[in-house]
């Protein structure tokens, strides 16, 4: 016999939050602890950002906050404030993001594809601050993103491909 869950969580009421997603102000009326991931997916119908672990372990939920990659599953909506959030749906609006997407297509990177939104968000953040990353730079920037299909060989090649495209 076993008694189940015992941790108690506080339930606060809902509140209105106005956040900037992909360049547009969006207002949601929601519990402030709701992770950005679920606001994006379930409230705002932006389903490109994925759920893989809910524990900052897989990177499937990676989005940009003011250009930096963050894990949306660990980001309460109440903490977003004025920050600019960019998701996979709009990453192609930036030159670097577009190059990354094109490199992914050119090299036929995905298998199941489920991790790839997160991979592209991390890769774009890397190339934005470091246009010519070394293998070591790639290892550091990309090791938070799990690819269960293990397409790492092509992800690495595609990052280098996009870097080259960016330098022309």
């Amino acid at each position: 016999m076993l008694i189940g869950k015992t941790d108690r969580v506080e339930f606060c009421g809902t509140m209105k939050y106005s956040v900037e997603i992909n360049g547009a102000k969006r207002t949601v009326d929601i519990d402030g602890e709701t992770p950005l991931l679920w606001v994006l997916r379930d409230t705002l119908d932006l389903k490109g950002t994925k759920f893989g672990c809910g524990a900052a372990q897989c990177g499937a939920c990676t989005v940009h906050m003011n250009g930096h990659p963050i894990r949306a599953c660990q980001t309460p909506i109440a903490s977003v404030g004025d920050a600019r959030i960019t998701t996979i749906e709009a990453i192609g609006d930036s030159k670097v993001g577009k190059h990354v997407q094109e490199a992914w297509i050119e090299l036929d990177v995905p298998q199941c594809g489920y991790c790839q939104a997160g991979q592209i968000m991390s890769a774009t953040a890397l190339l934005t601050r470091n246009p010519a990353p070394t293998d070591h730079d790639i290892n550091v920037a990309m090791s938070g993103n799990v690819c269960r299909c293990a397409t790492y060989t092509r992800i690495r090649a595609a990052i280098k491909h996009a870097a080259k495209a960016g330098s022309i």
């Binding site: 016999m1 189940g4 969580v9 339930f11 995905p110 594809g113 489920y114 939104a117 790492y152």
Partner: protein, 732 residues
Amino acid sequence: MLARRNFLKVSLAAGGGMLLTATLPAAAKAATLGKAGTDAVALNAYLQIAPDGLITITAKNPEVGQGVKMMLPMLIAEELDADWSKVQIAQADLDARYPGQVAGGSTATPLNWLPMRQVGAAGRQMLIAAAAAQWGVPAAECETAPGVVLHKATGQSLSFGALATQAASMPVPDVKTLKLKDPKTFRIIGQPTRNLEVPRIVTGQPMFGIDVSVPGMLYAVFQKCDVHGGKLVRSNVADIRKLPGVRAAFEVKGGTDLRGLLDGVAVVADNWWQANRARQQLDIIWDEGNVAGQSSHDFAATAIRMSKGRPESILRRDGNPDAAFGKAAHVLEAAYSYPFLSHTNLEPQNCTAHVKDGQVEIWAPTQNPAPGAALVSSTLGVPPTAIKVHMVRAGGGFGRRLSNDYMVEAAWISKVAGAPVKLLWTREDDMRHDMYRPGGFHFFKAGVDANGQLIAFRDHFVTYSQDGAIAASADMSPAEFPARMVEHLEFGVSMIPLRAPTGPMRAPRSNAFGFAFQSFLDELAHASGVDPVQFAHNILGAPRLLPDPPMPRQGPGFDTGRMRGVIDLVAEKSGWGKQTFPHGTGMGLAYYFSHLGYFAEVVQATVNATGEITVDKVWVAGDIGSQIINPLNAENQAQGSALDGISQALGQALTIDGGRIVEGNFDSVLPLRMRQAPPVEVHFLVSDHPPTGLGEPALPPALPALANAIFAATGKRIRSLPFKDHDLSAAA
């Protein structure tokens, strides 16, 4: 090896154009199907040509990342002589007209290679017939170029689009009269072909099961007993109903089938996070049943005790191993083991269902929709005709989605909640309610003679039973290598009763046996002072086909020449034996035949002073027959499979304690990460055999090749998985 009989049916597609339906019973041996199913598989395909020339080819099988949604249409398009740039691909639903809608066992290539091409060839012949009729010339004088029919003598030509409507009224050709292309003239098959889905993937379009949205949909979670099959006694579900956003919360009384609907509590809310948060307030009292002995620790102790006695049953015996050990120059004994594993599809299990007025509509990322529909039918008591299943792209399959537990749960919850629901599991649910790759123990003894020939081999395999029978995917074949190539050999089996459910995981059985057998064979090579490549040659002997003994999953046998071919190729490509490495770096070889594919792999690895393993590089050589259908995807699949094996070897294990899985997320089950991923060089040996599948066979050699490389680097032999549990600091 495939049946030539088929049946082609044609009708006008809605909106004009030709709709060609083919029902193709494939008599390929069920034995070659791996875990996918043992019934003969019948095939069916759609081909639609619009008057504007756009060709829609329906991919009938579930797509889980293996690339079948591209591969099947490529076969059809080739023989149709389609212009590939005008082809679009549609995903079929589960549909009685398409039997064999399953993704498993690397079967799609061998089962569809001929029939799908026949579908295309039949379409091409009808288009030619239509053109010939219009021009009043013999069909035999007509030919095709991509997307057009030509009559060279008169210089006339008509596009497929222009001919489509008339072609639909042409008689359906007898399959015996179909002329297939000479493979030398292939324009689509064999070309590196980009996956048409990638532009949608990289822009984040909703396309996976988890992305499904239907009007009025609510979100559900389902708490089951972490001791598999535990029964619900009582819960505080009434309190849960009062929590924010919760629309329904109720107890579910399930059955005893661990792959079906089980006891639990469902929570349905306005969004998923609310549902899951409310669930955290559940207090449930379970009757776990008897969990005595249901711990990894107990299993290991039981296995050692069993190994000291005779096996409970003998799977195979040739000659007299005990007597032969006495004649061997080198005799070695070793115990190998490997743990239970979770499939860890990156997309956790999920399913959307809508039960209304006795009708059930389901959107499921499943590898095996038909048994799922049957499960829903029997559990909900609705006729199969009232169930509609849409197959949705899955974020990884690896065998997990051959089971449909999430499907029946979603349907049940929708029925009780009276609304469409999307059920989504957490990562912890996924890891703790899997159909696990069974662990196992091998107690080996073998003898090698003075010439470096393996003359005697024994394995006492300790595996698991469930309800008295061998657990799913926990059995061993009497044809397991090196059986048939060793004069004196015995495979014995003993079983430990297990509660946790087991099932196929990518390269079932092979993913574990490869590690145990190929590591031990490497030990034998080193103990006898024979180079591992030479040792393999000695075992394989002259090129010949060794037929399979009578057994489940009986296949076409084992070709020693093909195995040797890939071993020699990988040795050449990796520079095997040509380099001397400093202490701490070494190369390991392993080879394995599974799912009709012959693979040999070399891993170069380095172990540093702190015992940290770096996989420097992997070389893969494979023989999957005469044709690599899509080299771009083939390389990706082979690389991914090899790295999947490396991932399992380095960091993955589940621990069972008191009948429950201890681990729950990627902080304890460690997937391979970018910083650990080596380059993987893939080579295919094209041979004169029918093409076979690639979803699995490149995986099994990767683990032992790495273990053997670590031995070469350090002199330390690793005999259990995963490597993270071994301290190599003293060895390096």
